[in-house]
């Protein structure tokens, strides 16, 4: 199996995530795009581990992917709590409207 396929898929997902972060204005959709980018990195890690170093003793690629999944889950929880608080205080989840700190 060639290594380029998973790497190109990961690149594509990462760039789609960047597009979502830039172009979307709903905070929940921005969080979704961030999730896409994190998953792209996971594909890279697992592909390198299983296709290039299948006999590595420490299983670093898989473990890093698992840690990233856990940290991303925590990030989604806190991020959605912040978005809920934002909606409660400002009645909007539009990231363009939250420009209180703009100079």
């Amino acid at each position: 199996m060639s290594l380029v396929g998973p790497l190109l898929l990961a690149t594509f997902l990462f760039c789609v995530g960047i597009y979502g972060v830039i172009a979307r204005r709903n905070a929940v959709l921005v969080l979704m795009s961030v999730e896409l980018m994190l998953n792209a990195v996971n594909i890279n890690l697992v592909a390198f581990q299983n296709l290039l170093f299948p006999a590595e003793a420490a299983v670093s690629g898989h473990l890093f992917a698992l840690f990233i999944i856990a940290v991303a889950a925590a990030e989604v929880g806190v991020g959605l709590a912040i978005v809920l608080n934002l909606f409660r205080t400002r009645a909007t989840v539009n990231v363009d409207d939250v420009d209180l700190m703009r100079w």
């Binding site: 960047i18 929880g77 959605l80 205080t89």
Partner: protein, 217 residues
Amino acid sequence: MTGHDLAFLVVALVTGGGALLTVTSKNLVHAALFLAVTLSGIAGVFLVLAADFVALVQLVVYVGAVAVLFLFGLMLTRAPIGREALDNQNRGLGIAVSGGLFVVLSVLVIGAFGGTTAAEVGGPRVGDIGMVIFNTWVLPFEVLSMLLLAALIGAILLARRETGDSGEEQAPTRIDMGTAPSMEAERMARLEGGDDQAELTAGGDPGPAAGRGEGRA
């Protein structure tokens, strides 16, 4: 092209299509469901790569928990539906940045790993992963558990409505925005009519309370 490559191609097409639909869908709930499709497709990619444990964790954590959490978030924030409301004016910039980055990264990846093929796809067994977690990676594992605990407490503290010990519901803290447009409708009205803007600011405080009250009902 081996059977692995063919299987990967099918799963990758589903995943990429789901990702594209996630960021272009006009309907928020559809975007969340397409995200679930994409995450399931990534689990399939992990299966094709012979990483079965990571694939199952992906299914349980992402498709089972995170997608549902996103649906909760969407429904609790009552977001508007429609492309104009979902996308901002940066679509061209977004396409340029992500497209340019995709081209650059693709050239780099193909140049670096263009001819690399693995004769056989194999990964560690689940037992190996378990042994390694509790031998080599035990300290990061414990730190991660503390992080999850902190995130749990932080999310509850941020999202709950009550303040203080009594448990009574209190009105949320309003941030006085002055004349800054705090509501979507207000902002749109300012963008559309230049005259309305002068009227809005000249006629005293437009009233952030009034604007907030009717905006998202």
